[in-house]
Symmetry: D2
Subunit: 294 residues, 4 copies
């Protein structure tokens, strides 16, 4: 059976590079997809690391030259999992090379960069998407169906929260706490998912932010001496010295939606005892509650 | 054994009059109290109703003349459970007659009236309290103790919500939807409890409201023809005609506390599937989560 | 309005005496009952204690002579809350004096005594009931209605459990651990409720016990020196010496019902972290799950 | 880096064949394993199906001749995911060919066959294991550690249950309901897991079955006309005719453990509303509760 395929180039070989490799590897095994992804090339800065990564996850080639990779004629789709501040350059270059682009969230480090990416996508003929993966969570997909079919009636209120607890005062100063690299903290990392999920389920859009705050609660963190440790920084080697965290640990806002519904969004990396998100919608006929690792 | 007692006068014989009668009747049976309440007089507008109420609940006397009752020399404490817009007049008269006053929440129908009540209390020698009864819920009292003892460490965030679902579009236009009588809707009825509980547990105070909204979602409701029905209006006789609801069904705000913690407060009478409240505090060492009929 | 009344005599002034006093005091306040109970006489062994109890809870008279009380012409109903081994003598005497009898569970200390009580009730014209109070829990009453209306379809399986955790090795040798007084441990104290609830909800009866065990896990307990302490024995004064516990801490059985459904029943006083019961029924159309303080 | 590898042969290409393929494919990607599995050959009865399966999941070769495959010199481990009644022949042949064997549960269709497999394993030098995969669930592994470290103290009681709801009266007569093929129903399919988990966590063994029952509740089911449909038989083409189900839908037993602890085990395929298992252990110091998709 002749199968349509698409050669994928992955930029980045850290946590998300691993997650996406797993997804590319499995999608055509569990699902019958119209186009089968081919794990063509992975690209990252460290030659040894990227070679080992390619070998482990089954990428056919590896590279440390992202410009060459995104320009390569064989590549159909570029998957961007690099640090947030690299998303704009990587994505725009790929778009300009005529590739389809799948970019990790948050889309960009600044609003201005996000708009440049939007414009570059609009100018190109490529297809793009952002990795709001909760859309493919079966419960979320079902919630959207129920909502679109009118089974919930009028939506009065949306409550979205994404609470984690890994960023206490002992967590070291990883790149996630550096505004220049990460752009934001809980807002882009967590709340972005919740906002997207609310939009996806209801089809509604935020029309007005009534009030909002972003808090940097832990203002100084110990400096990392070397790599290692977990995603959360636990177990990493650290210095005695501290440096400033420049992103928000908690972000909260109250908003009005275009439909007239009101909403609260809460994201926190300091929510002791929580790992994941919960959302909720209130309506005439029904309500939806989604708790993942509540 | 000679026991110290206090004669209580109850104003109001509806839902809260019943709840308070139950409390006055039982408190000295389940607990050893320094002063035993005596159920002296209940006062309400309808002679027949108040006579039956007194007989049923064991009040020694009844009256339809609240002015005479609050002035009666034998009375030590006046318990105000009348509609919200009557709280100021009833409470201030009782204070001026030298009585201790226990007033239902919300304290008053307007901010101006609440300040008059505060000033009257300050001028008097009487003791006063507002019926924030969740303070006596064992879980809340324990939460306060844990917090006061420093067992939770620094409080980062307070999340308070009180969600009910009885005020859908089919609920008739009871006094609770009339701003002149009720003062407010979800804010005074529900959120007042949550704000008080947060203050009680943490000892912290709101210093700034960052953003807030109060929504009248169901703008017209069918007019009540007669009494009857449940607290929620279910089963009451209604007209075909509708009238405007003038209070908020949903109230939401983001606030900063004096300690620097941030907070969200949500109250709703339109939360399908919910009956009661949940709160939560995030800290270095621990977190508290309280769900009553969650 | 002339109201029909019934004079109640309460035997016993401990935990259940208190609970029942609360019930007799409130039932006609919260509900419109066809016959109003009158708290006529409370009877217990200690003169001072029973006098204080009567005063506190509002019993009109008190006595230490139960034989005289159950024979008193004015009394209409005798409420038996004495230790389990006293139930037969107290209940049968009351029945023979022509009184209605409400007896606490477990009905008796031995099967033989229970049968004597059943026969005495059958011989008399009195009405009787056992205090299986969960029947009046609104969720249980609703479950019964759903079941009786056929809304659950055929019942395949009943799972009943009642788990508590107060009887660890540190709990002293209270009367509840003395087979002569209590008759049994977890079986009569806890499992009796669950068996009754299953029967009440489904209308089904146990036809065969397939396998069962009753375990005395903690075989020796420290002897109580004096009264005091909580229901659970916590805080009571104890000796250094120990004595044998002669009742079951855990009881388990698998049974078949008359309908053909199979069932498991579990009761334990050693279930760390549990306070209360959960039950469950499996069916074609639906299932019921009831958790009280789960 | 020279890596030690092991060539795996998979027998069976249905639900478990798929699950195991996923596991063999991913284990060396997510974990650093001492021996890397190589997906060498998959073997099943239908030539076309097994070829497509091999292609989809990345098996290097495929075959329809299991005898040749288990004898192949290159193969190090044979993974048996065939129907339950084939486990004995397939496993024993593999053992006799000197291969390591990983066999799906339940081990065999009859007790006699299970003993033959045990004896064949004892006679060989091969390593064997049964796919009790819950042992690798992180929560279960942690529970075992806590238990082995004595952190739970003495175990009083074990409650194991595995409840599913897919086998209602509308589910067709799949091989899972045929005693000749499946050996048993809920007992081998579900309860086997729970018994193993209890043994794995506590290190304790069942010493006496006090009472047990296995119930075939749905005695006749519609006959399958063709393949298709889900694991649960939903969506499969069916005849109008019915045939007898010869396995248990519900299995229940009360047992005593070697340590003296008592236990209940419940498994059901008719538990409306349930998908998965819950277990629980009661102890002096602590308790463990594990609910997966509760």
């Amino acid at each position: 059976m002749p199968v349509k395929t698409c050669n994928v180039a992955l930029l980045g070989n850290k946590f998300m590079g691993r997650s996406h490799s797993n997804a590319w590897m499995k999608v055509a095994k569990f699902f019958d997809v119209p186009i089968e992804p081919v794990m063509h090339t992975v690209c990252a800065r460290n030659e040894d690391e990227v070679a080992a990564f390619a070998n482990r996850w089954g990428w056919q080639a590896h590279s440390t030259n992202w410009r060459r990779v995104v320009a390569e004629p064989d590549i159909g789709l570029v998957d961007v999992t690099t640090p947030n501040n690299m998303h704009p350059e990587h994505s725009i270059a790929a778009l300009e090379a005529g590739k389809d682009v799948a970019c990790e969230k948050p889309l960009a480090d600044t609003l201005d960069h996000a708009r440049q990416m939007r414009d570059a996508a609009a100018r190109s003929l490529s297809r793009t998407f952002v990795w709001y993966n909760y859309r493919r969570c079966p419960a979320v997909a079902l919630a959207r169906q129920l909502c679109q079919q009118g089974k919930l009636g009028r939506i009065y209120q949306i409550r979205g929260c994404y609470l984690q607890d890994w960023a206490g005062p002992d967590t070291p100063l990883m790149w996630r706490f550096d505004k220049k690299v990460a752009g934001s903290g809980s807002l882009g990392d967590l709340c972005a998912h919740t906002i997207d999920t609310a939009r996806f389920i209801t089809g509604d859009e935020v029309s007005e932010v009534i009030g909002a705050t972003m808090e940097t609660v832990v203002k100084e963190r110990v400096i990392l001496e070397a790599g290692g440790g977990e995603i959360s920084g636990r177990g990493a080697a650290t210095s005695q010295k501290t440096g400033p965290s420049t992103v928000d640990d908690i972000s909260l806002f109250v908003a009005r939606m275009e439909s007239g519904a009101v909403s609260t969004f809460e994201a926190s990396r300091l929510s002791t005892g929580y790992r994941m998100s919960t959302g909720w919608k209130s309506t005439v006929k029904g309500a939806i509650r989604f708790i993942l690792n509540g």
